[in-house]
Symmetry: C2
Subunit: 443 residues, 2 copies
């Protein structure tokens, strides 16, 4: 891992070269590098926490001035109970994942002695732009090494001391391994993000990890494919046949378990036949939890008056509140709910609450989102919860990777053809031409 003051273009070229070497290393060599990173970080705990304390001191002063948010200070703190241990455990977790490189996903006998294989391989060079969490360096370095990708990291300035301390340790660890040092580079020069985003010839994928504003800025300023999501406007559709207790529990969990999360509930669509039967109890529990309800006229009139129930304006149905506010809208059919979600949602995660299996399946087929759920909280949309071990983000893209993205999302494939001097001109449909065999071979 280099701590580089190189120009963005030089860093990208070094990353590309390093990725080409990394791709040829065995999984044992890559895992050995992860062991070295883990052990070196464990040995350097005191130094790293001392560096983190210096970042924290500045950040606390900035928070006291009001120039930095308290939540950012909290994300910065590597000394919080369990955080250091989680960071180290994350490296070992990645090490224990199956090797994503070199998996054969298609094998065809094209003709005698001529075989086609589709084999997974790394994408190449990743650019990861992130904000305050210093442990992200260790996570991303592990994922990059394991997946055979090179990574250029650009972190937020609040964590500079921590980043530099961690990357020195990782760099020294990589020097003891067969993995080229330039596989992970931390760019410490300032204001280089626009320059990095312009390097679409050398960088293959950008992963922004941070606020919506960061993601949106990245998406708007690069031709490099971006993996992530700017918005998480998740909806639940309440069908009249929903189980009342389940519905209340799921809606409360989806809104309350972490209101600032991208997979939290923002809009509740209520079938008109559920207004009188199901909505009042659900609304009561939401109000008791401190949620403000922004209702259309029909849903409002189904509820007792309350200062915390106000009239929705159209923009409420396009807003990711990330707070204790919920937009509620009445619909007259499942189709109307689906159309609303497809038009106003962010294609992240949406759920239907119903006891009717046919309605559930129709909803899940028709809603155009990364996650479509039946009788479960939208908050399950998460790589750890899906069993992916680790995630690099949640994608709302329509190509490559969608939903929580694990190691698989950092892979692409190449086609290997092995022949014995085969040429194309002899094949064809005409007289005297050879035909392809195109027989599937076992993987």
């Amino acid at each position: 891992m280099s701590l580089t003051n190189a120009s963005p273009a030089d860093a990208a070229l070094a990353a590309k070269s390093a990725s080409h070497i990394l791709q040829t290393l065995s999984v044992a060599d890559r895992n050995e590098a992860l062991t070295l990173i883990h052990d070196s970080l464990a040995a350097a705990k005191d130094d790293i926490l001392a560096a983190n304390a210096r970042d924290l001191e500045l950040a606390r002063a900035a928070a006291a001035d009001g120039t930095l948010s308290q939540s950012l200070v909290s994300r910065l703190d590597l000394g919080k109970p369990g955080k250091w241990e989680d960071m180290l455990k994350g490296i070992l977790d990645v090490r224990s994942l199956a090797d994503p490189v070199g998996r054969v996903t298609l094998r065809t006998l094209l003709d005698d002695g001529l075989t086609l294989e589709r084999v997974t391989c790394p994408i190449g060079v990743l650019l990861i732009i992130f904000e305050a969490r210093p442990e992200v360096i260790a996570n991303i370095a592990s994922l990059a090494v394991k997946s055979g990708n090179a990574a250029i990291l650009k972190g937020g300035k609040e964590s500079t001391e921590s980043f530099v301390a961690i990357s020195r340790v990782i760099s020294a660890a990589l020097d003891l391994s067969l993995v080229p040092n330039a596989v992970v580079q931390l760019v410490t020069t300032r204001d280089v993000i626009p320059d990095l985003l312009a390097l679409d010839r050398h960088i293959d994928l950008v992963i922004p990890r941070g606020s919506n504003e960061l993601v949106r800025y990245v998406k708007d300023h690069t031709k490099i494919p971006v993996l992530g999501h700017a918005d998480g406007l998740c909806s639940i559709y309440l069908d009249p046949s929903a189980d009342p207790a389940q519905a209340a529990a799921v809606i409360l969990d989806a809104k309350m378990s972490y209101p600032a999360a991208c997979n939290a509930l923002e809009t509740l669509l209520v079938h008109e036949s559920a207004l009188a039967t199901l909505l009042p109890a659900i609304a009561a529990s939401l109000l008791a939890a401190g949620v403000q309800l922004r209702c259309d006229a029909r849903s409002k009139s189904a509820l007792p008056a309350s200062p915390h129930i106000i009239d929705a304006v159209p923009a409420d149905y396009d807003t990711e509140f990330l707070s204790l506010i919920l937009a509620i809208k009445t619909v007259t059919s499942l189709d109307e709910a689906v159309a609303h979600i497809n038009a106003h949602g962010s294609h992240h995660t949406d759920a239907i609450l119903t006891e009717d299996a046919a309605s559930a399946e129709r909803f899940m087929a028709a809603v155009d989102s990364s996650g479509v759920y039946w009788n479960a909280s939208t908050r399950f949309a998460d790589g750890m919860r899906y069993g992916f071990g680790t995630e690099v983000g949640i994608s709302t893209n329509k190509i490559h990777s969608r939903g929580p993205v694990g190691l698989e999302g950092l892979m692409i494939y190449k086609y290997k053809v092995r022949g014995r001097g085969h040429v194309t001109a002899v094949y064809g449909e005409g007289e005297g031409k050879r035909r392809f065999r195109h027989e599937s071979l076992p993987l």
Copy 2:
């Protein structure tokens, strides 16, 4: 299929809505639409060929004026032997392909009663921009209907009469099916390409089919993901251990079987130890076939003098000639060949000729291209030859789809979660928290 004069934005919105309906249709319904399209086109052969004849008349006049190339006139002609039949057969071929929609590729038991499924689904709305070939409409309409995607088509003006005739027939056929008419729309208004390319909120993927200039223009003018390749600079590395007869045959096929193809050979890298042993016979056969050789000093001095062997300039190693010109360069090692290809190639298809398996495997692991071949012609890079039945193009992208792209490249997936009122707040590592089961279930 609408023949639309709607604004690009209205066409895209109509496509999005249509795609949402199409996604919920069964494969039987989608295949029925393909049967109707096939039968209607077959019945309308005379009308369509008459329209095509009007396009041809204008095109031949333009070719006589020198304002249109003769090869474009040839591509335009639907009456060429076999072309009409191939177009119709292509529709039935697509109909017979396995349904790409709704394949379950991952199934996990998250907890009792809570399952996760990853299911393939269409990407959404495709924009296909193409040049003269009128049969592309029928191909693309079939692929779109089969894959559950909506397609907006914008064709070259030389084929307007043919396009309009074919799309009227397809439109009438779709009206007899359950597939919404707006699933395939032909935009006939002029100069709308920049407007279409700006619709990144409504269009999910652009597929340009045509010249390098078209592809490059599209890539440079949109934020929508583009599937395709602008360049095809393919190389072959000639190892000293290559079989002489095989090497000559493969190189000749790669250069000569279709010199204007994207998978044709442009650069030959020769190991210094092969200069005296292998190159002279290969060069002789290339010269006999009419190829001009642009050589570095070492390879030139290994060959007898000829007016068709000239000194290479550096730009020759970055040029896709698409004609009877071949750049030749001497390298001192396999690693140098790999580094040259990774730096100067277009990541399309590259081959090694060798009898040494270890060298071949190292080359295939290290070369960062869609296709990496051992003892086979680069011209095998093609969806039909790979056994994909049909292809929408060859991609040199690093994400989503790489190499020849079949129906699979038009698909993405969604995650379906089915629960019984499951909430997230009860899960965790602490005392009294539930653990996920994360058990793989059979597909």
